[in-house]
């Protein structure tokens, strides 16, 4: 295992100290509790928006704390949900009197830890609404699974919802927009390699020199199907079509599209994927209104990519365009 770390146990702690050193203008960092908080939080009258999850997905979530996006992000150990105490502290820290929205990715651990935290927050007298993100089409949403995982759409939701909260909309409106983005968002990912949880010391799964894993999640866990390596165009097709079909996209629709790298894939390859995505959607008369291409929700050093499409109306695009100033996303300011 070769990583740029000091000791396996201090990976997240030292990352937090690095974020604090780098972005003291944007955030303050509670290193002991592994929480990144917007420097000017709480903002009176503004709905506080928090999220959180296992570390190893950077820049998500800590890299999305700041103007126009998240007010706080709770970091668990690598690929391990954060604990209720963290979300309780974060909820208090961002409560501007207008309530707090919890954006929760659909993982059993995240759901349960956020659930306990929401119970604690109500006990503290803070009004909390929770929205679960479950956009991963690779998992059948049926009785027989823990439901669809929360992946790429989380990034887009945090931007859109963050902008709405910035405009001082009330908690229910902000939560409803988050549900809407979730309902309009679908993703699918794939991996060329696994990744190594520092504490585990070896890759979570092994892939042969000519193999790839289709439908992987973002915790380095194996995916739906292991297959022979295919071309970039074939892979783009395999990821895009299930998303398009599940969303029921048709001629005249517009989307916000993200081609996301899993952490170890260079930008040159992501543009080759975007090239085919653009071709496929153009062929169907679906317009790409906005796009993100790069590493936004990763799995440590995993080589691979994911495609996320959010069917967007004018309001969502307006909120997307609103100013944002975080370590991971910045425009309009």
């Amino acid at each position: 295992m070769k990583k740029l770390i000091n000791s396996v146990d201090n990976v997240v702690k030292e990352e937090m100290e690095g974020i604090a050193a780098a972005h003291s203008d944007l955030v303050r960092v509670d290193v002991a509790n592994m929480i990144v908080i917007r420097a000017d939080a709480p903002i009176k009258g503004k709905v506080g928006v928090i999220s959180g999850g296992g570390s190893g997905h950077e820049p998500m979530h800590g890299g999305f704390v700041g103007l126009g996006m998240l007010d706080a992000a709770c970091a668990g150990h690598v690929f391990t949900s954060p604990v209720p105490d963290q979300m309780q502290i974060a909820t208090k820290a961002v409560n501007g009197g207008a309530g707090v929205l919890h954006i929760v990715k659909n993982y059993t651990g995240d759901i349960m830890n956020f659930e306990i935290a929401a119970e604690l927050a109500q006990a503290d007298g803070i009004n909390v609404e929770s929205v679960i993100i479950n956009d991963d089409v690779a998992v059948q949403d049926s009785l027989y699974t823990a439901g669809r995982r929360g992946v790429g759409a989380t990034v887009l939701a945090e931007k859109i919802v963050g902008a709405l909260a910035e405009s001082k909309a009330d908690l229910h409106t902000v939560a409803e927009m988050c549900r809407k983005v979730n309902s309009m968002g679908r993703s699918m990912g794939m991996a060329l390699t696994s990744c190594t949880v520092p504490a585990a010391g070896k890759p979570t799964f092994d892939l042969g020199e000519d193999e790839m894993e289709i439908g992987i999640g973002i915790h380095g866990e194996p995916g739906r199907k292991r297959m022979k390596l295919a071309s970039a165009d074939e892979i783009t097709e395999m990821l895009t079509m299930p998303v398009v079909e599940d969303l029921g996209l048709k001629q005249g629709d517009h989307v916000i599209a993200m081609v996301n790298g899993m952490g170890g894939t260079p930008l040159i390859e992501l543009y080759i994927i975007y090239r085919k995505l653009d071709e496929i959607l153009k062929g169907m008369g679906v317009g790409i209104a906005r796009k993100l291409i790069g590493n936004y929700i990763t799995s440590l050093e995993m080589a691979g990519c994911s495609i996320t499409l959010v069917k967007a109306d004018d309001e969502m695009i307006k909120l997307w365009d609103a100013p944002v100033h975080t370590a991971g996303l910045r425009w309009g300011v």
Binding site: T80, N113, E221
Partner: protein, 210 residues
């Protein structure tokens, strides 16, 4: 061996040692059908439990278990944190104020723990989770209670039932937790959470038999 708080704390220390020793094994199991962190998560939790119980003179067994539960909730993270945390919190509530335990007490605590896991995780048996070790153990304990067995024997039977439960998870299709994302590919692997539950019961059984 007198079932007082000292014994309970002794068992918890032994559990912490075992979890630490089996850390890599539990993580490997979780790597096969999960995200490769179960052993790491459990070791983090139980090493904190050991530190917090060091030199504790707490007589009230309920309080001890509640401390274990809140510690696990605050340190383990992932799915197993809230589940095992809730289990110990509910068991502690059931044994609030007790300074020694009868088999009835232990059965009551076990029932509360299993109910807590089911409520928090919204899962049932046969979904390839820790319940598939804990529910058979619970039933074995009640049977031992009905047979008038000793605590040591009851826990022994529970541990045996739990081990059988772990083996039974191997052919199961996971329908809860991270493993469910794999569909059929989760078949053929034992569940990590069931394995850690069975490990804990085995440690307690061995301690009581000694």
């Amino acid at each position: 061996m007198e079932m007082n708080s000292a014994t309970v704390v002794k068992c918890l220390d032994l559990i912490a040692d075992a979890i630490h020793e089996q850390r890599q094994y539990l993580t490997d199991l979780d790597a096969a059908i999960g995200d490769g962190d179960h052993g790491i998560n459990m070791d983090r939790g139980f090493s904190t439990v050991r530190t917090r119980l060091e030199g504790s003179s707490e007589k009230n067994i309920g309080a001890v278990l509640k401390l274990v539960g809140s510690t696990l909730v605050s340190t383990v993270g992932g799915a197993s944190g809230p589940l095992y945390g809730t289990a110990f919190l509910r068991a502690g509530t059931a044994l609030e104020g007790k300074e020694t335990l009868t088999l009835d007490d232990i059965c009551e605590a076990m029932d509360a723990a299993v109910a807590g896991i089911m409520q928090r995780g919204k899962a049932a048996t046969n979904e390839k989770t820790m319940l598939d070790a804990l529910v058979p153990a619970q039933q074995a304990m009640h049977k031992a209670q009905a047979d008038g067995a000793s605590i040591a024997l009851a826990v022994q039977r529970a541990a045996d039932a739990a081990d059988a439960g772990v083996k039974a998870t191997i052919p199961m299709l996971a329908t809860k937790g991270r493993a469910s994302y794999l569909g059929e590919r989760s078949i053929g692997h034992p569940d990590p959470g069931a394995t850690s539950s069975a490990l804990m019961l085995r440690i307690v059984a061995n301690a009581l038999a000694a």
